[in-house]
Amino acid sequence: MSPVLEIRNLSVALPRGGAGLVKVLEDFSLAIAPGEMLGLVGESGSGKTIAALSIMRLLPPGAALSGEIRLGGQNLAQASEAEMRRVRGKRIGMVFQNPLAALNPSRSVAAQIAEAWRVHEGGSARAARARALDLLGEVGIPNPAARLDDYPHQFSGGMRQRVMIAMALACAPQLLIADEPSTGLDPLVAAQIMALITRLRRERDMAVLFVTHDLSVVRDHADSIHVLYAGRSAEWGGARDFFAQPRHPYSEALLGAVPRLGVARLRTIPGALPEPEARPPGCRFAPRCAYVRPDCTATDPPPLRAGGTHAACLYPLSAAPPAEPAPDLPAGERRYLPLLQARALGVRYPGHAAPALQGVSLELGRGECLGIVGASGSGKSTLGRAILQMQPHTGQVTLNGQDVTALRGAALRGWRRRLQVVFQDPRESMNPRMRVGEIIAEPLVLQGQTARAANAARVAELLNNVGLSAEMASRFPATLSGGQAQRVAIARALAAQPELIVLDEPTSALDVSTQAMLLNLLKALGRRLGLSYILISHDFAVVSYMADRIAVLREGQVVETGPVARLISAPRDAYTAALVGAARR
């Protein structure tokens, strides 16, 4: 069968600051057949989104593109803007991440879907509206006729992504490009979106280019996989062969870095992704590769056929990966000295009928990690804030037997020091005008330690603790990568020598390998310093990797609490069972 899309030797260079054009994607080739789903996988900076945007020729201004992008008989790399307008939306549909931003907030969904149809097919407004209605029904919006005139903000996250998909399908394209369509959604909703895309491509015999940073997302759905690293293809081929035996060390490392149920240890990839300006010679993964040999850095590795896939590696892995050690799930329940107790916590936001939190009781032992899992809107962040006394609530919180709900003023501030928090977006939670050293030293200064030399030494020690070099202290937050910024946030939390750290979605904005590094770091720190954690996340697999016990939150109430192993093997609540079912394994 002739492919729908065939890309040959595509290279893209983007203008970056004063550095002129920098190559972000090199010698990229792939082919997708009708009805095939290809997973284009890579971490941020790998060039995967640039590859997807190149096909649509939606690159930022000033981008230089060479090579061939064949859609049918047409070379899109050479097409004019007018020709591209007839391709976009008509022959290729595209779905983006974060549909709330990707849809126009001030136009109804009917208008936006109908526009995609009318731009190409013309026809009356009524016909286009009827088409929009059909499409909304096809993507599974309940009661579509009543929702035609609603605006994007009136839909939930998953429904919004369905609207986005309906829009991309308006003209029945041959190819659908989906750029991280399920990222940021709750796992149950993400699974539904994946199932929807799978169903649609079967029904329509439509090719799908699925761009994602998370290999596990495409594991069950993709026919073939293409892994990018630092602007170059690392490995590509059939999905079954790929997952059975990844040949490129990067693929193997990436697979090992994804938290899955029952995994005892995550692989950490040392080092960081190189910046496009400073990519190493030879194999780009060589500096971080566990199997590196001297000649890896000398030449560009040619694509070698190894087993079922191609790998751009001089020494593709051949042996089956070492068997994973049996997960050391705790045999019995460990006993912890009680640290924190929350009784009958309730929070009601003004203007909302339903309480955000109702009758939540928890306890946490010294050195224990308690996971709190729930969908967005389940009240898990509210619970974290209530425990931290950052949110007025009813009920009682005691730390070491002391009731903290009654504390005021200086006593409350003194107590706060013992509880620290790390948020999802670390750069948002740092003052951009303070240097990293000042940010970390702030809790020390607040405790009255103002000796500069002593603080600098302590900052260096803390940076070292979280795996950063002491030179970082003079940097500004804007110059840090996501993983580095989150490590600085952890160092700041540690500076106050807390007994408990509340981690509110600490890794959900990070790449898979960065997430693995951070989770391992938190685990090691917890053990070494005897810290207790409350880990809040919508990702069951991440929580099960970190936590000793998990509390499942739904609509402001705890539906089930229990040790991780028990929750996975024998969930008592149907909702817990659904979460476990949707989690990666």
């Binding site: 976009r88 939306g89 931003a101 136009r107 605006y151 308006a170």
Partner: protein, 317 residues
Amino acid sequence: MISMILRRAASSSLSVFVLVTLVFFMAHLTPGGPAYSILGQKATLASVAQVNARLGLDQPLLKQYGIWWWHLAHGQLGYSYLLNRPVGALLWSYERNTLVFYSAAITLSTALAILLGLAQGVWFGRWPARLIGAFQLGFYAAPPFFVAAMLVLWFAVQLGWLPASGITDLRSAHPGLGAYAAHLVLPVTTVTLLTVSPLSRYFGEAVHEELGKDYVRTARAKGVGFLRILFAHVLRNALRPLVTMLGLSFPYIFTGGVIVESVFNYPGLGWLMWRSALAQDYPVLIAIVLIIGLLTVIGNLLADLVNGLLDPRASYE
């Protein structure tokens, strides 16, 4: 929406009350008084006292203040000391002129601001936008009296194309519409030049910002052409800051620019306010301040309502 309007009216009435009170006492506590404007600077103390007694200005200040509210409650704004006419009718005869003048100016500058802002947003950072930006800064920095005086010098004095001041030609018995229009050209041009700068600058920034948003990329990915993206998607979202600014400039439409109206000797409300302040004609002055206060409140409210129509996410909470 009705409850939102009522709530806003309730909270704003306090600020209007404070404003009027402040102006009442500031005006009455300044030395001199309207008696001197009526009788002249060489008036005797006895005749001044007589006039003050007739106008009720010899009463305690708090009582005068109470009387003013009492009259307002009965729909009376008092009599102008100087012109000896009821304030309400006086304001309306001047207000008409200002309304015509400023409606023309605001309409013109809004239309221009939208055009310039679109150009600036589309060519952001390139030479057409930089050129527009240079003019914006120039006119933003220029003082109104200077621009007005220059326009008078060029077009009225040197070229003699347009009248320099007034509202119509006093020499003709039945002035036509053309005469009124000709007298409007220079003041309207002055106000437009001065207001278009901030309006277009904010709008241009908004257009540039909206063009960078994800939904624009989505529209391009649907195959929508650039002009359609600009007018069907971006325009409506970018208009919001412009509407907010227009709401804030709403009081000007009614009070007029004091300076511009005085330079062109244009009998509008701004000119009347300036004259009343100089003559310490308290009833007129306070009535104008009351109107400015009310209009500021109404302008903000209107801007919020229009923005609510532009943005379906606004919930009037």
